[in-house]
């Protein structure tokens, strides 16, 4: 690699698709989802713990933004872990399907092996990316909500609602972010 500094097209594609960086579209999806999930505890603390939304608007906004950042960070990490595994698992099925599709049409049947491989890689990445994105969102959402409920109903129940809110959301989102990094280190 040091001799041949210029990366091949395939390598660039691989780096782009399997790197830790996420595309703008994916990033936007992550931030939107993280924001909605971070806003869910507001309902709990407004209606169940009876906090006044007007009095605590600053607290609510700040904590929601902090949670949004932590959760979207966790989304990215879990997506990165899952994408590799999913790509490996679906490789055979995608190859078979793309080959079948290419062979069924006369204009694509004559494509070279390399072109076919590129198409297979592109398709595989797309499918793995989508599955990992949606699954990462689902997994982190369930973990965050579960931790937040436990914190607010049992661990921090004796504190006043404001302290309870800060403790529950900060601990839950922080733990979600922490778990996402720790498992990526082990996997």
């Amino acid at each position: 690699m040091s001799k041949n500094k210029k990366l091949t097209k395939e390598e660039e594609l691989l780096l782009q698709d399997f790197g830790r960086n996420v595309s703008t579209k994916s990033s936007l999806l992550f931030y939107c989802n993280a924001f909605f999930v971070s806003a869910v505890p507001l309902w709990l603390f407004w209606r169940v713990h009876e906090m006044d939304p007007q009095d605590s608007v600053i607290l609510f906004s700040v904590m929601t933004l902090i949670c949004t950042w932590f959760i979207s960070y966790a989304y990215k990490n879990i997506k990165f872990q899952l994408k590799h595994k999913i790509a490996l698992k679906i490789e055979h099925a995608v190859t078979r399907e793309v080959n079948h599709q290419l062979d069924s049409k006369p204009e694509t049947k004559k494509l070279t092996r390399q072109e076919k491989d590129e198409r297979i890689l592109w398709k595989k990445n797309n499918v793995a990316d989508m599955e990992a994105t949606t699954y990462s969102i689902f997994y982190n959402n369930t973990l965050f909500l579960f931790l937040m409920l436990i914190m607010s109903f049992y661990v921090a129940r004796s504190f006043n609602p404001g302290v309870n809110y800060v403790m529950s959301t900060a601990a839950a989102s922080g733990f979600v972010a922490l778990l996402s990094t720790s498992s990526s280190a082990t996997s």
Binding site: I78, Q81, L82, L143, L149, I150, F153, Y154, S187
Partner: protein, 172 residues
């Protein structure tokens, strides 16, 4: 002698003034609202409450009522504007048995007659002004046996567990 005389006159005057202020109630008609504790979790003791708006045909200005329950007589407090008489008592949950509690109301005349009969251990013929029956269901745990918080946390745990199992399968 003069001391005893003054006391005697005073007590006579006082009892006379009480007699004047306490007016009887004729043809009492009462509309009552009753309440008794139903939820054991929300109250440390069972409370019974009877609120009666009494109307008499002679419209007495100062109507004092007494309530009789299980042979015991109690004065009944009334609201500042004289419109409502409220009688209440509390009992520990275990002693507040379920069933019908019958409360008889008397005015001062009835109260005096009843006390007299009680003192001479006779059976009183005095009829109450009106009677209120309070049906008490023994206080219990209303609603679900499990706390709603527990259900919410368990549901969240189950969904998260399902998500983790699926994630582990993916990462195998």
């Amino acid at each position: 002698m003069s001391w005893h005389f003054i006391v005697g006159v005073l007590s006579l005057f006082l009892s006379f003034s009480v007699l004047i202020s306490a007016e009887p109630c004729i043809d009492a008609q009462a509309t009552s609202k009753v309440y008794s504790t139903a939820n054991v979790l929300l109250a440390t003791e069972s409370v019974f409450l009877v609120e009666s708006a009494v109307k008499c045909s002679n419209n007495p200005k100062n109507l004092f009522l007494y309530a009789e329950i299980d042979g015991n007589l109690y004065p009944v407090p009334k609201s500042a504007d004289n419109s409502v008489h409220q009688f209440s008592w509390v009992k520990p949950h275990k002693k507040a048995k379920s069933g019908a509690y019958v409360i008889n109301y008397y005015d001062e005349e009835g109260y005096a007659a009843l006390r007299k009969a009680q003192r001479s251990e006779e059976k009183s013929e005095q009829k109450p002004l009106f009677t209120v029956t309070l049906n008490h269901k023994a206080a219990g745990r209303e609603g679900l046996w499990v706390q709603t918080e527990f259900i919410a946390v368990t549901a969240a745990l189950l969904v998260w567990w399902f998500a983790t199992v699926t994630k582990n399968k993916m990462q195998e």
